[in-house]
Amino acid sequence: MKIVTVRKISQVFFFTLFIWFCVVSTIGDKFFQIRNWPVNWFLQLDPLTAIATILTTHTLYWPLLWALATIVLTVIVGRFFCSWLCPFGSIHHFTGFLANRKKSNAKKIKLNKYRKAQSIKYIILVVFLAMAAFPSIASTLQTGLLDPIPLVTRSVNLLLLPILDSSVNFLSVTQRLYQGAWLFFIVFLTAILLNLIIPRFYCRFICPLGALFAITSRFAIWRIGKTKDECSNCKLCEKACEGGCEPASEIKISECVLCFNCRADCKDDLVKYQTMPSLAGQVTNPDISRRGFTISLASGILAVPAVRLSAKITTNWTHNIIRPPGALDEKRFLNRCIKCGQCMRICPTNVIQPAGFQGGLENLWTPVLNNRIGSSGCQYNCVACGQICPTSAIRPITLEEKQGTGKFKNKGPLKIGTAFLDRNRCLPWAMDKPCIVCQENCPLSPKAIYTQTVFNTIRDGVLTVKKSTKNTIETQETSMTADSFTTGDFYCAAKNGEKAKITANNENTIEISTENNFKIPRKGEKIYVQIRLQKPYIDIEKCTGCGVCQHECPVSGKRAVRVSAEGETRSDNRKLLLKT
């Protein structure tokens, strides 16, 4: 079998595996649901994630040890990842092939020539790593913005699958929604359409992971090279060159993505994969000048403090950035989150959403809870997001820790925020309408939402008795609407405050229940038509901020009960109460 055939099989295999892992990232025990599939495997293989988190945290989180395998293999054989394994690379490879397959060889050779701009990816890499590297000033992990593995993971999981599944609802009962997914769409579509201009545009010019591989592959033991200096110079070896590395002349080893097309296309069989450097010469160093390197390093180092001047993770923090349960404090969280979207994909209620720009630039695409989206707030009996997080930005907490039971009894439940009641919007508080849906849905026992019962006299509810019997009162006024007080929530009160439930009414007569020995008012006395209201209160010490109340609140626009991040367990400086 030809090596390019093996490479194609490898690409199809790993691409299919990747898509399969995306599909099965659904909670459940059916064959197409998560069970024990290692759905983070591609993210774990990604050495950019490993190295960047090492820079920000000074440790290698254990599942990321897989990245060592990738590095070791790259050092030995070169950038195999790009052309053999990377699912994003395979997409570019295929679309680039489709777009340019009918062009003449001369045009293809021209398309695939090396370009100076291919060094942009090194600048991107250096900027990202510099942002991650200097904790003494400020560090942040932003590789996930352009790292191809998180990028393709979130694009498939949070954009393509929800669109494809929307007509059949096979993967989820209700439509999965992701706020701001249009931005994924623009990034993903742009990355793919750029292949129409130059094949593997993203890989050649942008990909910071590719740049990292380029650097690590400079000592590769095997590399592509010509076995003769002189050849017919037909340049056919460059017609399908995926990396734009110019194997015909001085090959740029750092740009070579090991597609092996040159080897297959050389009519004279002069291009080989070998330990000997190319006889036509080779360039192993990435094409980035010392000045370019210094400028990008300096920009990266300065960028983080520049962003941090907004104080978005300190005093000016955003109250509606509610992080999933188990998330680290904001600073350490941003040092680990790679914006892969796995937590948003696995969340059974779809409440975890990609952040937009509301929490500052650094927060883009990090997980936040939006209780207006999804099937309920943060589910009480669920810790899926922490279990799936590949970098432990959300710790893999247990249910016991989340609920504050078992050995976590002394610590109490984990709070992700606190619900605040907006008394200006709440039906019982602001509009004298019974409701308490929030109280009903609070999953805690005892509930964090409790009620106090009050009786409020309604508008035009003061009436004068004209005639009365044992259980009926006729009023002088004829202002009542027939049957409007029969919901079981209306009472007739006397001046002394005693009251009886209204069982029926028409324009000028009220029928009342006789069970409370209510003393019927006489002619000329005033009666008060009152509504019984259970007004909700939030026990701030009990509330965990799960947001089920906010999700269920019937005030459907701006909810009358809303979760705010104050009081969240993860940050000591956002405490609200003296006692927690």
């Binding site: 609802n169 009962v173 059974p348 009903e440 805690l444 929530d489 439930k501």
Partner: protein
């Protein structure tokens, strides 16, 4: 090339032009809308739930069984009403409506007990010779999580029933004749459309707004849309739900009752062993008896009287001559 086109070319061009003009005019004619859009989109085609009830047999309308074993209690309770054969005929498609509202463990009794569901499913198949038994609900929490964590999914499917999750395309709009609230409102309809019999199984639970959640309140789970607005008039909506649907049989499980912190519960402290299970063809009677398990009177639950006034059933369960039994 000649400057003038010949006749043949002219006729061909003119024909194409003519067809284009005719097509454009026809499209304009067909799509012509003089009135403009209405204020609201057209009402959906409204649906009505089939009547699943079976003929009444005096003295066999409600049975009340004391005991702490749900399986034995439900066997006995149904037998006292004439056996499952009275309710399920060979070849029937039976739908079971549990209360699966919350994503909590069955031990916390916030949802219908899974063993009880499994038992009823088996009764339908083994003695009732049902063709197929379905289980469905539109819970409050995430539907898939509710059915999984409550144990209902596993128990029902193991017993041979098919679980139907409340997907968007299963909802249709309904209007209840004479109703104040259920007007052009989406309900979980499709799973019920083809069913021959409906058995609803609900636990006895405290409910802060309405007083108690039992067999009538269980049908809140048929509502779709932003149904929470109905809490403004909870008693009317519960009464209307009982008018909207006519089940074959309701089973009220008070083996363990949630006496506080309802309807979610969440702690064993909220539960009490009340060792009572009720089977009834009259859900008003069932709930009127069930109220006692929560130390409530009929008058504490205004929806009971509303339903009675609407002719759904009677709050005076004694008038139905309930059959009592105790199983050990």
């Amino acid at each position: 090339m000649e400057n003038n086109i010949n006749r043949r070319q002219f006729i061909a061009t003119a024909t194409k032009a003519g067809i284009s003009i005719a097509a454009a005019s026809a499209a304009a004619y067909l799509l012509y809308d003089k009135k403009g859009p209405p204020a609201k989109p057209k009402a959906h085609d409204l649906v009505t739930f089939p009547d699943y009830s079976v003929p009444k047999i005096t003295g066999q309308t409600i049975s009340i069984v004391k005991g702490d074993d749900r399986t034995k209690s439900v066997d006995k309770a149904i037998d006292l009403l004439g056996g499952i054969e009275r309710f399920v005929k060979p070849g029937d498609n039976v739908i079971i409506k549990p209360n699966a509202a919350f994503a909590t463990s069955p031990a916390l009794a916030a949802t219908t007990n899974p063993q009880l569901i499994a038992r009823v499913v088996r009764l339908c198949y083994d003695r009732g010779q049902a063709a197929k038994v379905y289980v469905t609900d539109n819970p409050i929490n995430d539907p898939a999580s509710c059915f999984t964590l409550s144990g209902i999914a596993k128990a029902a499917t193991a017993a041979g029933a098919k679980l139907i999750l409340p997907k968007e395309n299963l909802f249709r709009n309904t209007t209840l004749a004479g109703a104040k609230l259920i007007k052009n409102w989406p309900v979980l309809y499709k799973p019920f459309e083809k069913a021959d019999k409906l058995i609803a199984i609900a636990p006895v639970k405290d409910h802060h707004r309405s007083g108690a959640s039992m067999t009538m309140k269980n049908f809140y789970g048929l509502l779709g849309g932003r149904r929470n607005i109905f809490h403004q008039d909870i008693h009317t909506i519960i009464a209307e739900l009982s008018m909207m649907i006519k089940p074959t049989l309701v089973i009220l499980d008070g083996t363990v009752s949630m006496i506080s912190n309802g309807p979610t519960g969440g702690s064993f402290d909220d539960l009490k062993n009340t060792n009572t299970l009720i089977a009834s063809c009259d859900m008003v009677a069932a709930d009127s008896f069930g109220a006692q398990l929560l130390d409530l009177k009929v008058s504490d639950l205004p929806y009971l009287e509303k339903a009675q006034n609407a002719g759904v059933g009677t709050t005076d369960y004694n008038s139905l001559k309930p059959k009592f039994a105790t199983v050990t």
